[in-house]
């Protein structure tokens, strides 16, 4: 169906694609895996006409083709769904889908005809999308299906999906995979870019592995396993499971009592949550995103206005419900936020400036009076960069220049450097590549064994179950169950996450 032959693409000094060959058989699901920066997206953007290759050729259906723009690609039956959706919120599904490919004459768009076609497509692949619904009323999963429809409506035979599962809940991922399988049955070809190995193994027929701009492996999915793929991606053996000794919990560090938080008009993000975290243990919070986890962490970090909070937060026998973010920080509560670009970093500031965020007003960052000790800050940043393996190791670079994984390592270095008594950590490895994930997980366990109490929120069920010593399941702003992650199966936890648990009413106190 599609073949890239010796494609080379250079951005300035960076060789993003170095003579790569990718061969995608018709009617298959083909996974392209690699760490961030391996060149996966570049290769696919070349296939879709976003970029033009410096050299090499693209072969579609056995014939060499020039693909200069996305228009050329669409004409050849290639469609692409981006990680960030390109939909107009205030328009209906049908309007979004026909946008740029309007049926009928230029003056009068025949929307009803389009709606019919869309409905037919939606039924064919069982997408259950209503063409007349407004996009902003749709869930993220549904919006993604609108993107799929957009490509199908333009008669795509080959769909390129860039990290499609990054925004989906575990249930949505399952549904999404079912859709992909139906597409394959109908003769469509799918390329899926990802770095989640479990998904690769679950959905694909063939795998192409990329590293540092080169193709380092081509395998049949049936003939490989996660360890082998990880080794190819990273170039060395990678520990996929977290190895941790038994937890030895000490005294109670954090005690949350009947905590409620309102969001918006009377709506409650948290509804009477109570739990405790002890020194030396990792308490995980599982749940579909948007069930109160964000509110929980932000409230505990002191970032939610007092007026919206009720209940009590006790930290080391002190009531800190009314303390602000800085006071909590000073007491030894560190926070790795879920969204590092929005909360955790000043992207335009350099690494040494980022290394003091939150500590910038006191010693050792400040020397005399209000003056910052720039030299000291820089040398401590350099140490932190070394200890936490942040690359490139240059404290003068802006944080923006780093990959997601390295940005995360910088934040973790900063927060761990506090020697916290309590760590609030949310989505620690989101958008982080495998090598860094392993590193971050190891550091978390180390911190736990030094006696820190850790509250861990993650949308990756696998991550919370493998790291946590105890697991709280959140649903609709409530704790609907506490489970032992070693004793429970993913299915049991998944059921609780969707509100299917029996004990949901009398939640754990």
């Amino acid at each position: 169906m599609l073949e890239l032959r010796a494609i080379t693409k250079r951005f300035g000094e960076v060789l993003a694609n170095d003579h790569i060959d990718i061969r995608v058989e018709p009617g298959t699901i083909h996974a392209i895996v690699g760490e961030n920066g391996a060149g996966k997206s570049t290769a696919m953007r070349i296939a879709y006409g976003f970029y033009t290759a410096d050299s090499g050729e693209i072969v579609v259906d056995g014939e060499p083709r020039q693909i200069q723009t996305p228009h050329d690609a669409i004409r050849l039956g290639i469609g692409m769904v981006h990680q960030h959706f390109m939909l107009v919120d205030t328009m209906t599904v049908a309007e979004n889908i026909v946008l740029g490919a309007e049926p009928g004459s230029a003056a009068a768009i025949d929307l009803s005809k389009a709606s019919e076609e869309i409905r037919a497509l939606s039924n064919e692949f069982r997408l259950s999308v209503d063409p007349n619904a407004l996009v902003h009323d749709l869930s993220v999963g549904q919006q993604q299906r609108v993107e799929l429809l957009k490509a199908l409506y333009r008669r795509a035979r080959l769909l390129i999906l860039d990290e499609p599962t990054a925004v989906l809940t575990p249930q949505e991922v399952e549904e999404f995979f079912a859709i992909l399988r139906r597409m394959r049955e109908q003769g469509k070809t799918v390329i899926i870019i990802t770095h989640k190995l479990s998904e690769v193994l679950a959905i694909s027929d063939d795998v192409t592995v990329m590293r540092d701009g080169r193709v380092v492996g081509r395998v049949k999915t049936k003939e490989t396993n996660a360890a082998e793929l990880a080794r190819m991606m990273v170039g060395r053996d990678v520990l996929l499971r977290v190895e941790k000794p038994e937890a030895r919990p000490g005294e109670t560090v954090l005690s949350v009592r009947d905590l409620s938080v309102t969001v918006g008009a009377g709506e409650r993000g948290l509804r009477g949550v109570s739990f405790q975290v002890r020194a030396g243990e990792i308490v995980g919070v599982a749940g579909v995103e948007g069930n109160g986890q964000t509110e929980l962490i932000e409230t505990l970090a002191g970032l939610v206005p007092q007026a919206r909070v009720s209940g009590a937060v006790i930290f080391r026998e002190r009531d800190i419900t009314k303390a602000n973010a800085r006071q909590r920080y000073e007491m030894g509560i560190a926070h790795v936020p879920e969204d590092r670009h929005r909360r955790g970093l000043l992207l335009d500031f350099d690494l040494s400036e980022n290394s003091i965020l939150g500590l910038h007003y006191r010693k050792p960052a400040v020397s005399v009076g209000p003056l910052l000790d720039l030299r000291g800050i820089r040398s401590r940043a350099r140490e932190m960069i070394q200890d936490f393996d942040v690359r490139p190791a240059n404290p003068d670079l802006p944080a923006r220049a780093l990959s997601g994984g390295n940005q995360q390592k910088l934040i973790i270095g900063r927060e761990f450097g506090l020697n916290p008594k309590l760590l609030l950590i949310s989505q620690p490895t989101r958008g982080v590549d495998i090598g860094a994930i392993e590193f971050i997980h190891r550091k978390l366990v180390e911190l736990r064994d030094e006696g820190c109490a850790i509250l861990l929120v993650s949308a990756e069920l696998e991550e919370v179950t493998s790291l946590a010593d105890r697991l709280l399941v959140f649903y609709h702003g409530r704790v609907v169950g506490e489970v032992d992650p070693k004793q429970s199966t993913q299915e049991e936890i998944g059921l609780l996450m969707t509100g299917g648990g029996d004990e949901s009413q009398n939640s754990e106190r």
Binding site: F11, V14, A16, N36, G37, A38, G39, K40, S41, T42, Q83, D162, G213, A301, L303, N324, A325, R326, Y329, H335, P337, R342, R343, G344, L345, L346, L347, D348, F349, E353, I356, L357, G358, H360, Y361, A365, V366, P370, L371, L372, L374, R400, A401
Partner: protein, 372 residues
């Protein structure tokens, strides 16, 4: 290297503006090289050209700094104009009241405006601090309105400009104008409030040229602003707030406080224009003296990339244009000083385009980097 990169876009913008301006001159019917020769020649001769260029640049350094500080906190201070007016008036008021101003009435009898006469060592610092404090207070108002009610500073500062000008017009007209004076200006300030002109101590520079100690104060302000923004925890907090308010909040910084603080510092800097105008130049409050210094300050900050050093360079360029414009007007065949305004506008235009261009090129390289 980094410095060179920072300078590159503004310098290109200025050069392009001059080329386009040259074409306009040529179309009008003059020789662009002669006109530019006249412009630069008149602005850069010693002592008159340079003296006046520095004099014109002084208020623009203050307002450029004012806009830059606010901008570093993510705020667009359009209110420097109002801030400098209230500050200049307050500066004059203190210097009249405590400077012992007495003038002759129609009948020859004295009219006492200021009954106290403080010595210069006290009066000058007091008048200087008054200008800064009043400017800061006037600037803090829109800061507070934003922090407390979320009112957008662009709207509130513009409105406060109108209020400032009208309020001061009222006070000048009815309370501090000499009886019968046809010009809207206050009575003169006490002689003790005068600050020296540079000509008083720079050899070769005649004292008739009004560039004064306020210019040195402007340079000092640049240094202090630099230290404040990049070497103190307060500056860190202001810049963090401007760079990413959510992250600043996460870092335990009160975003509201920073907004008020940045606007106050900004207003104080704008207010320092009053020192140049009242204490250094006219020695009275002359109503509507500002040749849009507050608004030109936005252009100065933009061209100077919101950096004190850049602000100095940009203000000097605008000083050259203002000074040279007068001579172009007088001595060229067809071109008037309108050309200077066209040139100014072109510079700003191309800087704005350049900023966008930079922004776009950043975006592109980010896109490419983000998912290679």
């Amino acid at each position: 290297m980094k410095l060179l990169r920072e300078l590159l876009f503004p310098v290109i913008a200025v050069l392009v503006a001059f080329v386009v301006g040259g074409v306009i001159v040529w179309v009008i019917g003059d020789n662009p090289f002669e006109v530019y020769g006249l412009l630069l020649g008149s602005a850069l001769t010693w002592p008159d050209g340079i003296g006046y260029t520095l004099f014109y640049a002084t208020p623009l350094i203050f307002t450029g700094l004012a806009v830059a500080v606010a901008f570093r906190c993510g705020l667009l201070n359009i209110g420097a104009e109002g801030q400098l007016y209230v500050a200049a008036f307050a500066c004059a008021w203190v210097s009249i009241k405590l400077g012992g101003t007495v003038i002759k009435g129609f009948d020859g009898s004295p009219i006492v405006y200021g009954s106290t006469s403080l010595p210069a060592v006290v009066l000058v610092p007091l008048a200087v601090l008054t200008a800064i404090a009043v400017g800061a207070a006037w600037g803090a108002i829109p800061g507070w309105l934003k922090a407390r009610f979320g009112a957008h500073e662009v709207i509130t500062t513009i409105m406060l400009n109108f209020i400032a000008v009208s309020l001061i017009s009222y006070f000048t007209q009815y309370y501090y104008k000499a009886p019968g004076d046809p010009i809207m200006q206050s009575v003169p300030v006490g002689a003790a409030a005068h600050i020296p002109r540079l000509g008083d101590f720079v050899p070769g520079l005649p004292s008739r040229i009004p560039v004064n100690a306020a210019f040195l104060l402007a340079l000092l302000a640049c240094l202090l602003v630099y230290v404040f923004l990049w070497r103190t925890k307060w500056g860190y907090e202001i810049r963090a707030t401007g760079a990413n308010p959510s992250a600043a909040e996460y870092g335990g910084i009160s975003v509201r406080k920073q907004i008020v603080l940045a606007m106050a510092v900004s207003g104080g800097l704008a207010g320092m224009v009053g020192i140049n105008e009242v204490l250094g130049y006219r020695h009275l409050y002359y109503h509507e003296f500002s040749a849009s210094y507050g608004f030109t300050g936005i252009a100065v900050a933009l061209l100077g990339r919101n950096h004190p050093l850049g602000v100095i360079l940009a203000a000097l360029l605008f000083g050259v244009l203002l000074r040279g414009g007068i001579f172009v007007d007088a001595f060229s065949e067809h071109v008037t000083k309108d050309l200077v305004e066209v040139l100014q506008a072109l510079v700003i235009l191309f800087v704005a385009v350049g900023v966008n261009f930079r922004w776009m090129s950043n975006r592109f390289s980010m896109l490419r980097r983000s998912k290679v």
